[in-house]
Symmetry: C2
Subunit: 195 residues, 2 copies
C-alpha cells in the first residue's frame, strides 16, 4: 500500500512547478533546462526526476494546467450555434498551442484517451474537451443546424483530428503561408458538420 505524500514532498513539487513556469513564461517551454530548474528550486537533479518521469512529464503538467484553464473558459462561454462559432471558441486554444511546437508535441504525445499515469493532466484535458465539443454538437444536432447522421461523439473526435491537422500543417509550413491555424480550421469544420 502506498502512503500519501508528505508535506515536504508537496512543497518541493510546487516549487519545481512554479520555478519551471517562471522560466517557461520567459524563455518558452522549449527553453527549460533541468539544471536550471533544480538550481533555482534549490534541489538536486535527482529530485526533479523523482517527481516527474522526464522533462516531458514536467512539461505535460505545466501545459496541462494551461489547457485546463482554457477549457474552463470554453465551458463558461455561451454554446455555439454555427460551425463558425465553434471555431471562434477554439481560437484561444489554437493560439496557445500554435505558439510553440513543443506544446503541440507534448499534447499529442500525452493526449491519450485512457489515462495511464495519475499525473497525466493532459489525458484528462483531452477527454474533457471531447465532452465539451460533444455537448455543443449534440445541442446543435437537436437544433437541426448540423448533420445528424453521425453520433455527436464521432463528430467531436473528428474536430479534434482537424485541430491537430491544422496545427501540424502550421508547424510544418514554418509559418510561411499567411494562413493562421484559425483560418485554416474553419473550412474543415464547416465541411465536417454540414447537413
Amino acid at each position: 500500500m502506498t502512503r500519501a505524500p508528505q508535506k515536504r514532498r508537496l512543497e518541493t513539487r510546487a516549487r519545481l512547478l512554479s520555478v519551471a513556469e517562471g522560466i517557461a513564461a520567459q524563455r518558452g517551454y522549449a527553453g527549460l533546462r533541468a539544471e536550471e530548474v533544480v538550481s533555482l528550486a534549490g534541489v538536486a537533479k535527482g529530485t526533479l526526476f523523482s517527481h516527474f518521469k522526464d522533462m516531458d512529464g514536467l512539461l505535460a503538467v505545466l501545459i496541462g494546467g494551461k489547457v485546463m484553464m482554457l477549457l474552463d473558459k470554453m465551458e463558461q462561454a455561451a454554446p455555439p450555434q454555427t460551425p463558425a462559432q465553434i471555431c471562434a471558441l477554439l481560437n484561444d486554444q489554437l493560439e496557445f498551442v500554435a505558439r510553440e511546437r513543443v506544446i503541440f508535441d507534448v499534447l499529442l504525445r500525452y493526449s491519450g484517451v485512457t489515462a495511464a499515469q495519475a499525473e497525466e493532466v493532459i489525458s484528462e484535458g483531452f477527454m474533457r474537451q471531447v465532452r465539451i465539443l460533444e455537448g455543443w454538437i449534440d445541442a446543435m444536432q437537436k437544433a437541426g443546424t448540423i448533420r445528424s447522421d453521425q453520433p455527436a461523439s464521432m463528430l467531436a473526435e473528428g474536430i479534434q483530428g482537424f485541430l491537430n491537422h491544422v496545427l501540424a500543417v502550421w508547424f510544418c509550413a514554418e509559418h510561411e503561408t499567411g494562413d493562421t491555424p484559425q483560418a485554416a480550421l474553419e473550412p474543415y469544420i464547416s465541411a465536417w458538420l454540414v447537413t
Copy 2:
C-alpha cells in the same frame, strides 16, 4: 556556388544509410544509436552529422524511402470507388506507421507542405500522397459516389488529418483498445465523404 558532391561522399552516405537501415530492421528505428551507426559504417561521428542534420534527419531519409515505396504501390493499384476501398488502399501505410511511434513523430515533424531542405524526402512523400488522394477523390466525385460540395484537394487533406488522428489515438491509447487504426479510420472517411 556549391559543387556537386564527390564520389567518396556519396559512398559514405550510402554506407551510413545502409548500416542504419540494417540496424533499424533489427531493432527498430528507435533503436538507432549514432555511435553504433558510425562504428559499423567505419566513419567518425562527425561525418554522420555532416551528412544529416541530426538523428531525426537520418530517420527522415530512411522512413521517407519506405513511404515512397508504399506510395508506389498505392499508385499502381486500381483506383478506389468507395470510401471503404480508400481505407483498404491506405492499409499498408497505416500499418507501417503504426509499427513505431517514432515513425509517426518523424512523419508529423517533417511532413511539411513546403519542402525547405532538399533532403526532405518526407515532404515530397506527403505532397505526393495528397496528389494521389486528390486524384482518387476527383474521379469519385465525377462518378457521383461521394460529395462534390468541397474541392477534391480539401477532402484529400482532410483524409490526411484523419489518418494522423487515428494514429495519434492509437499511440496514446497504448494499444489497449482492440481497435486497430485501420478499423478506426473507416468511419471517419465514410462520414467525411458522404454526399
